[in-house]
Amino acid sequence: MLKDITIGQFFPGDSIIHRLDARMKLIVTFAAIIEIFVCRNFYALALTVVYAVAAVLLSKIKLKVIFRGLRSILFIILFTSILQIFYNSKGDTLFEWWKIKITTGGLIAAAFMVIRIVTLILISSLLTYTTSPTTLTDAIERVLSPLKKLHVPVGTLAMMMTIALRFIPTLVDEVGKIMNAQKARGADLDTGSVIQRAKALIPIFVPLFVNSFRRAYELAFAMECRCYSDAEHRTRLKVMKLHARDFGYLGVDLLLLGGIIALNILFGKQI
């Protein structure tokens, strides 16, 4: 179960997507997410799909990884699409029983929603797949740095994010170890009702929390030993520099936006 979590994971590589400036990737990804929601018909949506697929192919991330990431949100996709099918009652009725009515409009809306969510996940997970978490938090820090003027502790927030990301694999490992330790003591984690299983998780989470606090204490000590005093006055190993390719990337995104707007006007609202 825990090994399936790939959202937020980084896969080192040397593709053009990997080499793009993280700040630009961050901004363009946010722009693209908004653009996906601007789409009003299938033609515009198809354009975002083309964009997402092209980006995935260019990133040279294994398709297996991409599908695994999508599988973990399968439930959300199913849930929203079922909701769409029942909620939307436009178009011809295909099936009716008691209060349940399935219409062509509902099916189209569901398909639209599924494509939209999948594209959304593709584009946003590509950001974390191709950018090391430290670079990403670095980029977030730099993109948000104007907020420093308003006394927002941007550096500290970025540091907290880095540490959280750093400890995900460590804690996942630890959950596995504690689970095995409790199983060895006769804990039954896999059978019983939902409530029973939830209760069985308590002896997993209590030691996990206790250990996390101990870890946090030790980490704070280690950081102090390495002269950490405040996050706002640090220098960086990596200097971020914008290249021509980064502006090219922005250009592609602007073209996408233009295309979407044009198709929206051309074909009108379908959904």
């Binding site: 980084f10 980490l219 200097v239």
Partner: protein, 288 residues
């Protein structure tokens, strides 16, 4: 060895703040010792002997209740010079998992120099240099959680090394490692001491790690009970017995032989010394 003293404990006392309704237990009582330029010091002690407190006192994480700790001639109670002290006296801890901050090896090593607000070029130079010193340069883009325990501890050492300290204090750096990782880490610690002249304070409960030290201090209940060269310290079995520490294998064997009536010299610490001592007493010719 020259006379320059890089780290000095002068009659240091320290007690952790007492919890409500409890009496403060002194962790360190009247501890004095000097670490000279380029010296390899080993502090031996069992759990609760106060040896980890020594590490925290050495770089101003804790300030002594009484007495003075001086790091590179700076009194550690001067709060304004805290960073200077910590840059000069680096501390490596027991659990490598809890002292690695970043998700990429080289970015973690850069953490210290980044905090010192060094220029980017200087950070790059120090990171590369530190990684080469522990032979992890080829793994600089790896994720720390995928490395072995020994490699993780080497990353932690490189992280300290990148601050270019004069003294490195290691608090039980090998206790969470497997035997292979242990030798690996110890080899690098000795190499740094030998080749870079970095003074090392190795805090441990493994007596065999103390064999190659210049000076050994044995701690019990917060006090230093023995001090001297490894040979001199290991010869004092009377005191060592009460500390609950175990003799290095060769010394333990020599001691057992002595008790069984085989004449053995007082300080047998290495396999070579043991072989020589045995050669003296064994019959020269072995009949098949």
């Amino acid at each position: 060895m020259t006379d320059t003293i890089w780290l000095r404990f002068d009659h240091v006392h320290y007690s952790y703040p007492a919890e409500e309704g409890q009496k403060a237990v002194p962790a360190v009582t009247d501890v004095s010792f000097d670490v000279h330029e380029g010296e390899f010091v080993c502090v031996l002690g069992h759990n609760g002997s106060g040896k980890s407190t020594i590490a925290k006192l050495s770089n101003a994480i804790l300030i002594p209740d009484q007495g003075v700790v001086t790091a590179m001639e700076i009194d550690t109670s001067q709060e304004s010079r805290e960073l200077e002290i910590r840059q000069n006296v680096g501390v490596v801890m027991q659990n490598p998992d809890n002292q690695i901050v970043a998700t990429i090896v080289e970015e973690d090593v850069a953490f210290g120099p980044e905090n010192l607000a060094l220029p980017q070029k200087e950070i790059r130079r120090r990171v590369d240099d530190a990684l080469k010193a522990v032979d992890l340069y080829d793994m600089r883009f790896h994720e720390p959680h995928k490395l072995s325990g020994g490699q993780k501890q080497r990353v932690a050492i490189a992280g300290i090394l990148a601050m270019e300290p004069h003294v490195i204090v290691l608090d039980e750096p090998t206790s969470m490692l497997d035997p292979k990782g242990r030798t690996e880490v110890l080899d690098y610690i000795h190499k740094l001491n030998r080749e870079r002249g970095i003074a090392v304070v190795l805090i441990t409960h493994y007596m065999d790690e103390a064999v190659q030290a210049d000076t050994v201090y044995v701690m019990e209940k917060g006090r230093i009970v023995l001090r001297g060269t490894p040979e001199a310290v290991f010869a004092r079995e009377d005191v060592l017995d009460s500390t609950g520490l175990e003799l290095p294998e060769c010394a333990a064997l020599a001691s057992a032989l002595r008790q069984a009536g085989v004449p053995m010299p007082k300080s047998v610490l290495s396999p070579e010394a043991l072989a020589e001592a045995l050669a003296q007493v064994l019959p020269r010719e072995v009949t098949p």
